[in-house]
Homo-oligomer: 253 residues x 2
Amino acid sequence: MSYTYDVPKAELSVDAVLFTIISTQLEVLLIRRRSPPFEGCWAIPGGFVDVASGESLDEAAARELEEETGLRASELYLEQLYTFGAPGRDPRGRVISVAYYALVRPDLHAQVQAGDDASDAAWSTVADLLDGGGSTRLAFDHAEILETAVARIRGKIDYVPRIAISLLPAAFTAAEFRRVHEIVKGVTFDASNFHKRFRRMVADETIVKTGERRKTGGAPAELYRIEQASDPQRQKRASGAGSSARDTRRSAS
Amino acid sequence: MSYTYDVPKAELSVDAVLFTIISTQLEVLLIRRRSPPFEGCWAIPGGFVDVASGESLDEAAARELEEETGLRASELYLEQLYTFGAPGRDPRGRVISVAYYALVRPDLHAQVQAGDDASDAAWSTVADLLDGGGSTRLAFDHAEILETAVARIRGKIDYVPRIAISLLPAAFTAAEFRRVHEIVKGVTFDASNFHKRFRRMVADETIVKTGERRKTGGAPAELYRIEQASDPQRQKRASGAGSSARDTRRSAS
DNA sequence: CCAAAAGTGTTCTCACTACACCCATGT
DNA sequence: ACATGGGTGTAGTGAGAACACTTTTGG
């Protein structure tokens, strides 16, 4: 491997788009940068991969999230998103970023502020960042990463129940499950029709009834939880993008 | 950027899984390695990103494919797949590989052998590599990359017409379109039902009739081509995965 | 009683499936 | 004539959309 010395190498970073739901909004965790470049700008949390320690990319993403949020990665849904490597995306030099996205349950998001050096971490609503984008300009190409992550979960939530469930507390009602879909996709669903879809998932045993009920504004609602997989089976990547009912993703011809 | 000196850095490579269809099989292009590690083993074509030249990841993937196959990237469907960065995946040291996959029309695959230094390039049937895997062991983690790529196109072919079309000549019949789906997914479809689906795409103008016919074993078949996009509109990534009807992909909890 | 929210039922449409059938061609 | 493959038609099933409706709570 001697020939590799002196060859210009790129730096390798991981960035993780962390989503949660606060009240009725999809929110993303941003960190205010304390040093140049983009000093003072908001950015997606991330950092360089510790090549010396031999950590994998997934481990690096999990470590960054733990460092910056205090959440254990085992509490999160974490998945690789896309790798961004355009020259010039970082003014310091060639930095390739393997982007991840993660989902955190809303009952855990409060403790995120307690992150170590993340004195300037804040949740921001995704709609504001995407639409106007105006007020908050993100550092580097992080607006593009955010867009990609949002497109991914919007596509994938339709056919991967765990996406929505990862944005809900351990026990949830059918209506809460619907509202997560509405918030993520930015549309409203007919409550009746959506409930039928929900009932199919219960029939599937994708979701199981807990037997308890929760008081709401009206009639008490049944509580449900995800069927815990008896053994941790592997899942596989592909799409991206999955995609979805449908992912959208970039392609060249 | 001075602090970046002396930090151990990873090497960055791109690998591209190139698919085509030969006769009735999905085939993938493999290169026989001429030097260690894995000397003599078959591998997915790829190489290091030329960081000094400032090429993007997409450009690096396109360049590698052009160098090793002689095909212009504009003739291919090329899309980023996933990034593999496990420590130990390359015995020489830490190498992160951004994997792509590409689709080449079967009427172009013959000229691939003429690649520059690719005197030992060959098409191999995907089914053989996946099933037994036995005889041909792929270098590095390329078996995993191949699996991921196959899962991606199997998921995405259902809802992205360009996948199948990129595996067909410029003009094709409805039955050929169906057979591509059958070959990629490894199943058979009812010809009648599939044809109805095909007719919907024609009604959509996703696919247009050329007006010509081709002789077959029986009645002559209508020829179709993809509707060429009037202006090159951007597409976006997401899924992975997508995917799909559906992609499958890896996730951690 | 009334508003709010949970949850059910009914009808229409559309896509997917299985399967029967006809048409055009080469031998 | 008959085999081969292209293409159409019909009936059943199941999911999604639109929307009317009942039930259970709190005030």
